[in-house]
């Protein structure tokens, strides 16, 4: 936030009024905007249309960094290094009921999500540390689960990192991708 403060200070010098009307610390729109995905897909819309057939199962809240002409994997994000699976605040997943991931029971509740990207696989991490920033203070001892998932190449380049859920025969999956790669994490109900 120091940066924001200086940005505002600087913009005050540039503005015609200068400090005549002191600007408040109004948060700017994030460069990596936040987004939300639910399972069932679009649950909030289904709910107001009375079309939801089951209660909400999962929700992920994450920020969406952009490629901006950079090489994402291997350069912007180093391989074999814990990444916050988004930008800014920790990516957070909430399960509203118990689920199974890779045959491990995951109790309902909130978890932070991290990933360790590699060329052929990503390690997806569920961790207990919540409401923090980035992966700077990531602690492996607070992991709940680690699962390796295979990297798939996509034909389209995704400018913004994305996460979405979709239905599978045994439950649903969490899909995430950026640039020309994508991974899929199966979750069983």
């Amino acid at each position: 936030m120091k940066y924001l403060f200086f940005a505002i200070l600087f913009s005050a010098f540039l503005s015609p009024n200068g400090f005549a009307q002191p600007l408040q610390a109004i948060p700017a729109i994030d460069k990596s905007p936040m987004d939300m995905s639910t399972y069932p897909v679009n649950y909030p819309l289904l709910k107001i249309q009375d079309k939801a057939t089951i209660p909400i199962v999962a929700r992920v809240t994450y920020s969406r960094p952009q490629k901006s002409n950079r090489v994402v994997f291997g350069e912007l994000l180093e391989y074999n290094t814990v990444w916050r699976f988004g930008a800014n605040e920790n990516t957070e997943i909430e399960f509203f009921k118990d689920v199974k991931i890779n045959r491990v029971l995951v109790k309902k509740g909130k978890y932070s999500l991290f990933a360790i990207p590699n060329t052929d696989k990503w390690t997806i991490i569920l961790n207990k540390d919540l409401n923090t920033w980035g992966s700077f203070k990531y602690e492996k001892t607070k992991d709940v689960l680690r699962v390796d998932v295979a990297v798939q190449k996509t034909t389209e380049i995704a400018e913004s990192f994305y996460i979405y859920f979709d239905k599978t025969t045994t439950g649903f999956s969490l899909n995430a991708g950026w640039d020309d790669v994508k991974v899929s994490l199966p979750i069983n109900m």
């Binding site: 940005a7 700017a28 729109i29 936040m34 819309l45 709910k47 930008a87």
Partner: protein, 210 residues
């Protein structure tokens, strides 16, 4: 990318949601019957009314990351519609937020507030937990409302699930604010939740119950 909250960036996408406008869907939130399977193109677009998160104490995640131990009191998740030259508050049908009608205090999904501790707002104790937060704007006052109908889109508010209402005065805001903004400022007794859009600002004082 690490501290990207410093730069004002305009995002371009398809459709703006706000207030009582007709409800369109943008590509990022497809119609419920669509599937998103492998449809990367549909996912690369961000909402024009971007989601954002505000914390009390302000910047809690950064502070926590930097080792400053504080008690987390509240978190708001809300979307930030843009003014884009339109009339925001007023009595006429052209106003995005019509006086006397509920407004979701954001866009898209219902705005959500989580209290991690019990708090007191204008004399009433509020139990810790997660609530939908919305408002009924009027010229001189805004009615701020907490509601328990969670995980819903911000329209069709179920008023039978309201658990708290309070009126707060509106304040003239200069200069005009392009993006609806909700943030917390620390006070001696707790924090102020500041809401501002266009030329209107309202402040909800939140007191920590110790």
């Amino acid at each position: 990318m690490l501290f990207s909250k410093k730069i004002i960036i305009c995002f371009f996408a398809l459709v703006l949601f706000s207030c009582n406008q007709k409800e369109n869907k943008n590509d990022n939130k497809q119609s419920p019957t669509d599937t998103l399977q492998n449809n990367v193109a549909a996912l690369v677009k961000s909402d024009q009314s971007t989601l954002d998160m505000s914390w009390c104490p302000a910047n809690y995640p950064l502070e926590q990351m930097q080792g400053n131990k504080q008690k987390l009191i509240a978190r708001v998740i809300y979307s930030r519609p843009q003014k884009k030259g339109r009339q925001i508050f007023g009595t006429t049908a052209e106003s995005l937020c019509v006086y006397g009608k509920p407004w979701r205090l954001g866009a898209n999904e219902a705005t959500e507030i989580t209290f991690f501790e019990n708090v007191n707002i204008t004399g009433k104790d509020i139990e810790k937990g997660t609530y939908v937060l919305y408002c009924i704007p009027n010229e001189k006052t805004w009615t701020i409302i907490l509601n328990t109908n969670l995980y819903t889109w911000g329209l069709h508010i179920d008023e039978t699930k309201d658990i708290f209402k309070t009126d707060i005065p509106t304040i003239n805001q200069q200069p005009s604010i392009e993006n609806f903004t909700l943030f917390f400022e620390d006070t001696k007794t707790g924090c102020d939740m500041v809401m501002a859009w266009d030329n209107v600002k309202a402040i909800l004082p939140i007191v920590f119950v110790r």
